[in-house]
Point group: C2
Chain length 274, copies 2
Amino acid sequence: MPRHALRDGLRVEAGKRPHLGRTDPRDTLGLSGKDEAADVVARCSERLEALQSLLASEDRRSLLLVLQGMDASGKDGVARALCGAMNPMILRMAAFGVPTKPELRHDFLWRIARELPERGRVGLFNRSHYEDVLVVRVDGLVPEETWRPRYGQIARFEERLAETGTTVVKVMLHISRDEQLERLRERAQDPLKRWKFSADDLRKRDRWDAYMAAYEDAIEATGTEDAPWYVVPADRKWARNALVLEILTHVLEGMDLPEPPPPEGLPPGFLPGT
Amino acid sequence: MPRHALRDGLRVEAGKRPHLGRTDPRDTLGLSGKDEAADVVARCSERLEALQSLLASEDRRSLLLVLQGMDASGKDGVARALCGAMNPMILRMAAFGVPTKPELRHDFLWRIARELPERGRVGLFNRSHYEDVLVVRVDGLVPEETWRPRYGQIARFEERLAETGTTVVKVMLHISRDEQLERLRERAQDPLKRWKFSADDLRKRDRWDAYMAAYEDAIEATGTEDAPWYVVPADRKWARNALVLEILTHVLEGMDLPEPPPPEGLPPGFLPGT
């Protein structure tokens, strides 16, 4: 099977409910191992380098990649893989943690809108407005009459972004509960990983099923043709990175970015033969 | 000669004036070629990975790397090399272009202060407040009675940062005028590099000597023990990246970052044998 068909298998059809319990987080989508994954990463990185330049030259549209996933599912790892592939002056990253007091004095999309990528740029959200229908819902931080309407508010927000030139892609990194335990233990034990460890992650881990249900609801309610969700198996880091780079490459290819015109007004002699 | 001695040779002594005209931009500081440079990058990246974790765990101090250099001297390239070496959630990058109207309604350090790295983080400035004594001075954008006092204002600003926990390191990427011409031609000719090309770069190029004098003045006036300048030869990209990573590793090593204490309050059974 060609790779694009495999990668397309990760895309959740608009309006469909994913069945996370029946999706294997150890799946590699046909990648035979680390070597093949490294080849995919190298090939995609080369394409991404070219595509980001065309995006910047065109200076008209932008791309937003939203990364979601349970703790230790690899959001930072993917961000790092993207950094290696793209010019940091084009890639704009934002991480969304617990909202600050000033942020809480606005509606939940206010802080999100402030971090949107400008024209010609790729935005990467490490967590996002989806936390407002995930942790906020599972922990009951606001009543249902507040979080329930957010699905529609998010869908309309993203629809407007798509209409005004920002292609939106949403990726859920799908890790298994067992693999998460391994990684959290490693964070607690390894002094070099301890800065990432929070005892609060263990509490969230206890509500795994509620989180999975909230993810399924969010993906079902906000997956559209213009702002689709991809569920990426994330137990194997090498497969996870290769798959996200493949998705991003595919999306940028689909934007049909034009080659820029030659520069004008150069002084004679600047270019050889002029 | 051991590598640290070579690298230390790039450091401009506090209060000393560098002689850029007598510093060879093609120097590799003892690196024999791309292979050895790649080894240095790999070794430094591994150390930086550990050091950034300790910095984040300590959560008390921060590091600011200021990158300056003429157009096409490789500021983006260095930023990219650092991205590959450090977790993007710890590395905070900011680029400073032509000031916006709201920025111009404040003093020149206002926009800089807003982008300083928080505790536990590494900040990377792609251009900086030094533009306010470089292009601003060379192009006469403000009168001398405005730019002249800025040297002292910058030195006092950086002194305060050092005192309050931010280690400041300033790097000038030193490219030759010939190498810059090659790179600007490539940007104009290669469709994939064209987004970086600006005809304005050619105008600045015509005032090369004035820029070098302005750099020498800035380095002489603001180089201190606590916030030193390094002049890094930048005609060879592989040497440039390896040298900046060596400097950064050296600076972080010098911060004597402590190993974090083990986490407390873990539930029984979470870690094996508990």
